[in-house]
């Protein structure tokens, strides 16, 4: 099974992402503050997408619960700032550590499950946290949410550009760590496990421990997204744990390309723009998002599973192959 990175050359794996980061760095000088805000929300979505891509794209672990860690990151950050008087960066790092702890404990069971059970139980875990956040009113303010009290230097209303650069800076640091991780031998080992877990085990690789490791790392990445989201939203609701957050992570990764390092970056930009412009016409973005997801899943021929074939870069070729295989299916005996 060849990865899209191989087919398109190594540059295609990280090149588009680097290009987007350069545009992102110049964004406040190029567009109005409305679009800078949009850029900030794209960066947050990208981080949750990156977290999903680390699991699914590199390790073949289909998590439908990255909202758990996104939400833990957001809530811990807000609570430490509001209740503990910590500064933002300390609180953010504590939020990431908290998410890693949650991932370490829950992952000890989760990473051993069959794929479908892994999907269902990561999903159920996020739902459990949403329930807890909605009911622990004394701590979280329940469904009315918690407003974060930030100093003026981090208030997005006072200075959009400054806060945007804080978000971008943290995101670049997270991207750098994730990039080093997947390009080092750890990333290769994970891909080996993804392709054939039994063979990897036979070769003496501790499959469960490796899976747990990437699960914990992905949790920290999602938590960074959650903690940063606090800067642009300034309020946290229990809906940070909603499955739509996990679904968005999946959709942006699919759009950009599963297992492609630039995938979630491309996808976050495309989905962000679609939702932004559709959102101007109607509040009902569900139909559009559903159609986008349907289109991407159908374009990827024999499953988007970790081959990067859902990628925008690979889309034209994939579309031609898809049409050809549909024509073939129409001729062949359907009961195969």
């Amino acid at each position: 099974m060849r990865s899209v990175g191989r087919r398109l050359g190594p540059f295609a794996d990280w090149g588009p992402g680097l290009g987007l980061l350069l545009v992102a760095a110049a964004l406040p000088t190029l567009v109005s503050s409305e679009y800078v805000l949009l850029g900030a929300s794209m960066i947050v979505t990208m981080l949750v997408g990156l977290s999903f891509n680390l699991l699914f794209g590199y390790a073949g672990m289909f998590s439908f619960g990255q909202a758990t860690f996104y939400g833990v990151g957001a809530y811990v950050t807000v609570l430490l700032i509001n209740r503990g008087g910590f500064d933002f960066f300390t609180a953010l790092i504590a939020g990431m550590v908290a998410a890693m702890l949650v991932a370490g404990v829950s992952g000890a069971v989760l990473v051993r499950l069959e794929p479908i059970a892994f999907i269902m139980l990561t999903f159920a875990l996020a739902d459990l946290f949403e329930f807890a956040a909605g009911h622990a009113r004394g701590l979280t303010g329940g469904d009315s949410g918690t407003i974060v009290s930030l100093p003026d230097s981090l208030n997005i209303i006072v200075g959009v550009d400054r806060v945007y650069y804080v978000i971008l800076g943290v995101a670049v640091a997270v991207l750098a760590v994730a990039f080093a991780f997947v390009k080092a031998s750890t990333g290769l080992v994970l891909r080996g496990i993804r392709e054939d877990a039994l063979r990897a085990r036979t070769l003496g690789i501790a499959v469960e421990r490796r899976r747990l490791g990437v699960f914990v790392l992905a949790a920290a990445v999602a938590a960074a997204g959650g903690g940063l989201s606090v800067l642009s939203t300034q309020i946290v609701y229990p809906s940070v744990f909603a499955w739509q957050v996990s679904a968005n992570a999946l959709i942006v990764t699919l759009i950009g390309g599963v297992g492609l390092f630039s995938g979630p970056m491309l996808g976050a930009v495309v989905l962000g723009l679609i939702d932004f412009y559709v959102g101007r016409l109607t509040t009902n973005t569900l139909l559009v998002d559903g159609l986008v997801l349907l289109a991407v899943v159908l374009v990827a021929p024999s499953g988007v599973g970790a081959t990067g074939r859902g990628s925008l870069l690979a889309a034209p070729g994939a579309f031609v192959r898809r049409v050809r295989s549909m024509a073939r299916d129409a001729r062949a005996d359907p009961a195969g």
Binding site: F56, F62, F64, V109, R112, L113, E114, P115, I116, A117, I119, M120, L121, F123, A124, D127, L128, F131, H135, A242, W243, A247, L250, L254, N284, T285, L286, L287, V288, D289, G290, L291, L293, L294, V297, L298, A300, S302, G303, V304, G305, M326, D329, P334, A335, G336
Partner: protein, 300 residues
């Protein structure tokens, strides 16, 4: 706890459990036979509840209108399910990529939820029960709402019908055979594609039936999607993926336990399904068995 209170909670719990069984059975049947985990089950349930509000409102909350909703809505949903299976899912069986199938049903859930918002808006709706079903009986000092009794009877009938279908008919025999060896079955001249479409449509119909039956129990809102999906997933996992008997036992037990927990602490009651699932999974793990079976087994 007095005996009357005990009966009260038991009735409520059975009512809850059988509502849970409808959607869990649909989910489980589709998983067991087709190997597809249908994320759209929650959206189908929500759609069922919304369609029921329309049918019942049009017929002026009469007994006939309620029966009509019970008969029509699942059939409409099943037909739509059949169309979705033929157009979208059928092409995925050969590659058998569980993740891709899951994503297709996720896309369907978006489309259904978007359609519901388009048709009904995001406000809440309620269903008025017909007068014939809205009062209650006195059983040994306890109150048994007529509607709860109807739900329990309906649940038992549906469970019996599923068993009769799976174990008493040729279609059921072929369905169970398809779980074991799909290719062999098609070599023997059985139209497996049609069988799969039928099973998927039946599963979707069951899910919509759950929504119709549950609609009069509370407000119909867009929150129903997640509210229905999570417990259904939990029932399927607790009972054992693909295991119908397990799903029935799990649904009814979770319903009854939740009902008794509600008496002690209404706040914590929604956690019951998680707690039961965790205990069952831990017990399975402790007894040295796999946490969950790899291959689905349909039927018993």
């Amino acid at each position: 706890m007095s005996f009357a209170t005990f009966l009260d909670q038991l009735f409520a719990g059975l009512g809850l459990g059988f509502v849970l069984f409808f959607s869990a059975a649909g989910l489980n049947l589709v998983w067991g036979v087709l190997g597809v985990m249908n994320f759209a089950a929650g959206a189908v349930y929500m759609l069922g509840a919304y369609l029921a509000t329309t049918v019942i409102a049009r017929t002026g909350a009469s007994t006939l209108g309620w029966l009509l909703a019970l008969a029509i809505v699942p059939v409409v949903a099943a037909l739509a399910g059949a169309a979705a299976e033929v157009l979208l899912l059928r092409r995925t069986y050969r590659a058998h990529d569980e993740n891709q199938q899951f994503m297709l049903t996720l896309a369907l859930s978006y489309l259904i939820a978007g359609g519901v918002v388009l048709l009904y808006g995001t406000g809440l709706r309620t269903v008025a029960l017909p007068a014939s079903l809205s009062d209650s009986w006195n059983v040994l000092g306890a109150t048994l709402p007529k509607y709860t009794a109807v739900v329990i009877v309906l649940g038992v009938l549906v469970a019996a019908a599923i068993w009769a279908l799976l174990y008493g008919t040729r279609i059921g025999l072929l369905t169970r055979a398809a779980v074991d060896d799909r290719t062999m079955l098609s070599v023997l001249g059985v139209n497996v594609n049609r069988l799969y479409t039928g099973v998927f449509a039946f599963g979707i119909g069951l899910g919509a039936l759950g929504g119709v039956v549950d609609a009069p129990n509370g407000a119909v809102t867009t929150n129903l999607e997640t509210a229905a999906l999570v417990p259904a997933f939990i029932v399927v996992v607790t009972g054992g993926l693909g295991n119908m008997t397990g799903a029935l036992v799990a649904a009814v037990s979770i319903g009854v336990i939740e009902s008794f927990v509600t008496l002690q602490s209404p706040t914590l009651a929604p956690l019951t399904p998680y707690a039961v699932m965790t205990l069952v999974l831990l017990a399975r793990g402790a007894s040295g068995r796999r946490l969950l079976p790899t291959r689905p087994t349909a039927g018993g």
